[in-house]
């Protein structure tokens, strides 16, 4: 997709691959044939630059044909480089301007409570994204208003566009910050399906407080030369790099 379009964000897509797969194939209640089903669980990719991963997941889950993926980033495509909810079945919010997804998720969770519906809302946040002030406005609101029908998942790969998170703007101590904002925190290995599903289940059981799953991940996971490097935040692989990456991922 990214090689073809010559645009996109591979590193941050690979770091959340197991998280999105777990959500769409094991955790969330969705009906690809009926993407606007009122009782569906909601998902927001607040780190909108992971769009290529979201599209792949939605296509594999049946929201639209897999063949569409080859149109990613091309003029006239429904698959914009950052997700556009008005164009893609299954995309709940248009994101890409970092820091906005958690608030939208809270709105969805509040609507569920007003309507006495039992759907759950999931929001995946980037680690660098939590440098945005709006995240903390939302964090404060969610605990104050006991928004317990929402789970945030932090893709903590420790790398952002210009470098490692601690060098650009330290976000530590992560667990303590969220705890102090009144959130339940669960720390997991974000590439371990069992841990992701287990954490999501326990988050859903937790009442009165919102939960954030702090998922330790590896940017560019699965491809040796892409792992843990900010270079691959938004780089497009060459033909040779693409082939090497596919070989490694298939192993």
């Amino acid at each position: 997709m990214v090689t073809d379009a010559q645009v996109g964000h591979i590193g941050g897509s690979f770091s959340s691959a197991e998280i999105l797969t777990s959500l769409y194939f094991y955790i969330m209640r969705v009906d690809p044939a009926n993407p606007n089903w009122p009782d569906r669980d909601r998902f927001i990719l607040s780190k909108g630059h992971g769009a290529s991963l979201l599209y792949s997941t939605l296509a594999e889950r049946g929201f639209f044909p897999v063949e569409k993926l080859s149109t990613f980033g091309k003029l006239g495509s429904i698959l914009q480089v950052h997700p556009d909810r008005t164009k893609v079945p299954g995309v709940e919010a248009s994101t890409g301007a970092l820091g906005q997804g958690l608030s939208i998720g809270i709105g969805m969770a509040l609507a569920a409570k007003l309507d006495k519906k039992d759907y759950h809302t999931y929001v995946v946040l980037g680690d660098g994204e939590t440098q945005e002030g709006q995240i903390w406005e939302a964090a404060m609101f969610a605990s104050h208003s006991k928004v317990d029908n929402l789970t945030a998942i932090l893709d903590y790969n420790n790398v952002q566009l210009m470098g490692n998170v601690p060098e650009i703007m330290q976000i530590k101590p992560v667990k303590e910050k969220w705890n102090s904002f009144g959130w339940n925190t669960i720390e997991i290995d974000g590439h371990d399906f069992k841990q992701i599903i287990g954490a999501a289940n326990s988050a859903k059981m937790k009442k009165e407080v919102p939960t954030i799953i702090i998922a330790r991940t590896t940017k560019g996971k699965g491809v040796s030369f892409m792992q843990n490097t900010c270079e691959w935040h938004g780089k497009v692989p060459s033909e040779g790099e693409y082939k090497k990456a596919i070989r490694e991922l298939e192993e």
């Binding site: 890409g96 608030s103 709006q134 609101f141």
Partner: protein, 313 residues
């Protein structure tokens, strides 16, 4: 005469009874915007977010995605500037059915001062694709606008001022989004106004009558989409136009009218508004005088634009 904010608060309360989908969000200013009326009657549908406008706009987007009709209420400076990116991306780009209400618009908001006087809110909202922009002229139009925007599916920015302004319309008036109204007939020139400047423009037309000048007064409460047909009609019938607005002369109603005239029927025009400065504290009458926006100033501008027409002919 009813204070514009009271008219808004009452309308929102009335709407709350009529439509259970309506929810209201506030960032600790409900007593000033009068969203309190709704909050007291419908506490379950009222969300207090604290002093956090960006989060408020985002939450509204999420509520709208689930079928609610959220009214985001705050001061216009905060809705349109502090939360501009959220309005643009979370609401407008996403096409969510959120109603943004900006209170304390323009200069005439009692003793607040520049930090609380929105002089650029229309320009900002008008430049964001897909947002409807409305500045009601009196209490009745405010009431009807609140009802009508709740029936429209899409993002709307509604301007609210603080104080009492003369009544122009009664219950027989029918506000339609995107349609302007001739409130006084005349053939010598046209004053196109919005918001609280409409009543000031009517006064200006009365002043002009003493000099045997019959000015037409048009209330153009919807600034986007602009009522081009009316502007073109006024230009072709009167050939001279003054625009009056409680906003910076850059980017507001004056600019919108100039765009229509320039592209369709170039016509002499002058703008009455805030001349690219920030406001200051003072009473409304004093501010109208100091910033050259009173009925007398509008009347003078009409005479001047009629002279311009003469020179051009």
């Amino acid at each position: 005469m009813v204070a514009m904010r009271d008219a808004f608060g009452k309308a929102l309360l009335e709407l709350g009874s009529l439509n259970k989908k309506v929810v209201v969000l506030d960032a600790d200013l409900a007593s000033s915007t009068r969203a309190t009326f709704f909050a007291q009657k419908f506490p379950d549908r009222f969300f207090q977010v604290g002093i956090a406008e960006q989060n408020m706009v985002g939450i509204a987007a999420g509520l709208a995605s689930c079928g609610k009709i959220p009214f985001v209420t705050s001061f216009a400076v905060f809705v349109t500037k502090r939360a501009a990116d959220q309005v643009s991306i979370s609401v407008a780009y996403s096409r969510f059915n959120v109603k943004l209400v900006g209170a304390y618009t323009g200069l005439f908001n009692g003793s607040t001062g520049a930090s609380h006087m929105a002089v650029e809110d229309i320009a900002i909202m008008r430049a964001i694709p897909g947002i409807i922009v409305i500045d009601p002229a009196d209490a009745e139009e405010m009431r009807q606008a609140v009802m009508k925007i709740s029936e429209y599916n899409g993002p709307v920015y509604l301007r609210e001022t603080r104080d009492e302004w003369p009544d122009i319309f009664d219950a027989s008036y029918n506000f339609t989004i995107g349609k302007s109204t001739t409130v006084m007939d005349g053939e010598d020139a046209t004053i196109i106004a919005c918001g609280v400047m409409t009543s000031e423009s009517i006064k200006a037309a009365e002043i002009l009558k003493k000099d045997k000048i019959n000015a037409r007064v048009v209330n153009m409460s919807t600034i986007k989409p602009i009522d081009s047909d009316m502007i073109i009609e006024c230009a072709s019938k009167t050939g001279a136009i003054v625009v009056a607005e409680n906003h910076n002369i850059y980017g507001g109603l004056g600019s919108a009218v100039a765009e229509v005239l320039g592209e369709n029927i170039p016509t002499p025009m002058l703008r009455i508004g805030i001349r690219d400065v920030l406001g200051e504290a003072g009473n409304n009458r004093e501010l109208l005088e100091k910033y050259n926006m009173s009925a007398e100033h509008i009347a003078k501008a009409v005479k001047r634009v009629m002279d311009m027409r003469k020179t051009l002919r």
